[in-house]
Amino acid sequence: MKAFWTGTVAAIVIAIVAGFILKAENESAKAAFTTSSARVSSN
């Protein structure tokens, strides 16, 4: 079952890395589709 756990860990690591990359590269929808004066928060 070593392959099962290795595959599971690999899937989690890939997901975490993807999450960091996408958060760093993408701006949120509310930032992308509004002007700064229309936003409630500073994001």
């Binding site: 079952m1 070593k2 392959a3 099962f4 290795t6 595959g7 599971t8 690999a10 899937a11 989690i12 890939i14 997901a15 975490i16 993807a18 999450g19 996408l22 929808a29 992308a32 589709f33 509004t34 002007t35 229309a38």
Partner: protein, 326 residues
């Protein structure tokens, strides 16, 4: 003679009367809706179902408030997709239960020999589990997005459901990359074993060797059923990846119509994918004795190999020793 106090008393009474008059006037006002009955149908007819205007914010699409195709899309999503899709999954589960009740577990008829040969290498098993674990989470989180509000929220309440769905949504987005990588690796390592040949027709005629006892059609590394599964996974993963990434990066590649189509395609294809994999999980665990070992330890019993993949077993055993040989 008019004194100051008298004037003050008059003013106070006049103010009170005026205030009373304003209160009475407001009380008698009726809302516009009551005065003029809502006439949305006529309004929508006049606008031909579309409400749009001009906006000054960067998102120009927000100028379109309403479009008839959006309503059709929502009716399709909330109606046929959810009802047919949901009942399809129920039918698959019921069907598998019925098949198991009728056929029972497919046993190794010659009995387990105690000798094993390697069926799948560590690399193959890693690839399978990378894909499978990702798929399980993708499938469950996806089904929650389609059916969770109706089926799970009443059970666990809105707060717990919101938290669960948020975790599911992020998991769904980020595990997609692991799933796509897993399918790509599967294509690289298994493509050459999954081209159809004349043996596959015989395999189908014999019912895959699982409908009747004593019937074991010859098969190489992968039988016809597994080949169909392979190509279904390749196609399904491609459809899910394309439609899914169009949804994850909204309006990068598609307009409103394209986004609506992507969601419908993703939902329908996802439900079909889950139905297919439910059958795969069944036959690989409960349905067939010795099958899980192939992906669990990588070692399968020699008698299992000879019954279910005779040509592959002959190739592997020819000149080689099986584990457990003296």
């Amino acid at each position: 003679m008019l004194t100051f106090e008298t004037g003050l008393r008059i003013l106070r009474r006049a103010a009170a009367a005026l205030l009373l008059g304003v209160v009475v006037a407001f009380a008698n006002l009726t809302p516009a809706a009551a005065q003029q009955p809502a006439n949305d149908a006529a309004l929508m007819e006049a606008l031909k179902g579309t409400l749009s205007g001009r906006v000054s914010i960067p998102d120009e699409k927000s100028g379109l408030l309403q479009q008839p195709r959006g309503r059709e899309w929502r009716e399709m999503r909330e109606g046929p997709v959810k009802s047919f899709g949901g009942w399809l999954l129920v039918a698959v589960v019921v069907g598998l239960c019925a098949f198991f009740a009728w056929r029972g577990r497919v046993r190794v008829e010659g009995g387990l020999s105690g000798r094993t040969i390697e069926r799948f290498s560590p690399t193959e098993r890693f690839t399978h589990w990378l894909t499978a674990v990702s798929f399980i989470v993708l499938g469950l989180s996806g089904l929650n997005m389609s059916f969770g509000r109706r089926l799970i929220l009443p059970l666990i309440g809105p707060d717990a459901f919101a938290g669960l769905t948020e975790i599911g949504k992020w998991s769904h987005d980020y595990l997609s990359f692991a799933f796509v990588l897993g399918v790509f690796l599967m294509a690289v390592i298994w493509l050459r074993h999954n081209f159809f040949n004349a043996l596959d027709a015989q395999w189908f005629k014999d019912g895959g060797g699982i409908l009747k006892k004593g019937v074991h059609p010859p098969s190489s590394k992968f039988n016809a059923g597994q080949k169909i599964l392979f190509w279904a996974v390749m196609l399904g993963a491609l459809v899910q990846a394309v439609s899914g990434y169009m949804l994850m990066f909204p309006f990068y590649f598609a307009d409103m119509a394209g986004m609506q189509l992507s969601l419908l395609v993703h939902a329908v294809s996802g439900i079909l994918f889950v139905a297919l994999i439910l059958a795969h999980i069944y036959i690989g665990t409960l349905g067939m004795e010795g099958a899980f070992d192939a992906m669990g330890t990588g070692q399968v019993d020699v008698n299992w190999a000879r019954e279910h993949h005779s040509l592959w077993a002959k190739e592997e055993l020819g000149g080689a020793r099986a584990h457990g040989d003296d």
